[in-house]
């Protein structure tokens, strides 16, 4: 799928991270592996600190905290936006939509389109495409794209495949129309035949949670997880990313009639720093143009890693002027998507902690 948008922009960005920080070294004893191997993993994958919610914190808690902050700062008015698009895989409940819960908790206006989208690693891209489409409607002045996940609550403490890298976070991105006609190019691809590479097997309607699905099972490598837990086939995901992402980036550059060298920065979803560096090698992109420091500082918060990487690495540049950015998200679904667009100047770009 190819998309082209014009007269669209990102005008503000806020990220919300749980203040609660954990350290990979402290957690190593939870895993059934020699310490030396875990230290090697830390070095290669870039596992270090990650931010996780403490207790039963939900997506709507992080988002309400962030929106109240924006209202208080005066960066966003309570009635300034007409659509709230929430991309999450960890809703407060199956029903109602978490976006409705957020509208209710904040007492927002009723003339508001609330939409939940179930997407993960490509969730920022899917949300961006959806938000830009909604701006076709004259009655929609601004769209709030909200990415939020608290997936650490679904990861086994004894799973060295997933626990060291998992992170919780939320981001609020303001999308609106722009007077400038700088086209935005995007593409997106789907392959549901490989959906089992990243999944939480139990807890939905296909396999409801039960005492049986809560039983911890050991895999061939010595990880313990239950069917209620998130599971990831790491090497399948690695191969998928290395094979599918480079041609997708080629395609989006071709759509724009531009070259790799003309892009200022490549802001990609960050599963771990190893995967990104291998991707950069394959695409012949210098490492300093492709930040890979999110997992080591905050963990992988699925759809929030792209906005986090923007706020953490580009804040000063995009507050001052514009940056030609190539964005890309890939993972759960499987879904992979990319976009080429100018980012900035933004009205605000801030990172805050949730207490």
């Amino acid at each position: 799928m190819k998309f082209v948008f014009s007269h669209r922009k990102v005008s503000g960005l806020l990220t919300i991270l749980p203040a609660h920080e954990r350290d990979f070294v402290d957690e190593m004893s939870n895993f059934n592996f020699p310490l030396a191997r875990s230290l090697k993993l830390k070095q290669v994958m870039g596992y270090d600190k990650h931010r996780l919610v403490d207790g039963l914190v939900c997506v709507s808690d992080l988002v309400v905290f962030g929106l109240e902050y924006l209202f208080k700062q005066g960066w966003l008015g309570r009635d300034d936006f007409d659509a709230l698009v929430l991309v999450t895989q960890s809703p407060d409940h199956f029903m109602p939509p978490t976006s409705n819960i957020i509208q209710g908790r904040l007492g927002l206006k009723r003339d508001l389109l609330c939409l939940d989208i179930n997407q993960g690693c490509a969730g920022f891209m899917v949300g961006l495409i959806q938000g830009f489409l909604l701006l076709d409607q004259p009655s929609i002045r601004k769209v709030l794209l909200i990415n939020a996940d608290v997936l650490s609550r679904k990861v086994s403490l004894r799973d060295r495949n997933s626990y060291p890298l998992i992170g919780d976070a939320a981001s609020i991105t303001v999308l609106e129309r722009s007077a400038e006609d700088a086209p935005i190019y995007a593409n997106l691809k789907t392959d549901g035949t490989r959906c089992e590479a990243l999944m939480i097997p139990a807890g939905g309607f296909r396999l409801p949670s039960s005492p049986e699905t809560a039983v911890l099972e050991e895999d061939s490598e010595g990880n313990f997880r239950s069917k209620d837990h998130l599971r990831m086939d790491g090497s399948a995901v690695f191969n998928f990313v290395q094979v599918e992402v480079p041609p997708m980036i080629e395609e989006v550059l071709q759509m724009a009639g531009t070259k790799m060298e003309c892009v200022d920065t490549f802001i990609f979803h960050q599963p771990n720093c190893f995967m990104l560096q291998k991707l950069a090698d394959r695409m012949k992109v210098p490492y300093d143009k492709m930040p890979s420091n999110i997992v080591e500082n905050f963990g992988n918060s699925s759809g929030v890693t792209i906005p986090l990487a923007i706020a953490f690495n580009l804040k000063d540049r995009i507050l001052a002027g514009d940056v030609k950015a190539c964005l890309s998200g890939f993972g759960v679904g499987l879904t992979w998507s990319s976009a080429l667009m100018n980012l900035g100047p933004l009205n605000f770009c801030e990172m805050i902690n949730y207490q």
């Binding site: 191997r37 993993l41 490598e221 090497s235 399948a236 690695f238 290395q242 094979v243």
Partner: protein, 72 residues
């Protein structure tokens, strides 16, 4: 094959690897090592393999044969 064996030994952090040693039995052969082998076989020889193909090959000799067949 010598070069490939040296590469495997390096990844698995063992001094020497014999062509017929089943390296998947080594404690160092975890998911991280498999990932490193995938990358090495791809970047050095242009052979794209999956973790299960590498595990199935099991020895340096069979992995070498597989790489030769899959070389671009």
């Amino acid at each position: 094959m010598k070069e490939l064996l040296a590469e495997l030994a390096d990844i698995l952090e063992v001094e020497e690897l014999k062509p017929d040693t089943n390296f998947t039995d080594l404690p160092e052969c975890d998911s991280l090592s498999l990932l490193s082998i995938i990358v090495a076989m791809d970047s050095r020889y242009g052979a794209r393999l999956t973790a299960s193909e590498i595990k199935q090959a099991g020895t340096g000799r069979l992995l070498h044969e597989l790489v030769e067949r899959r070389k671009k």
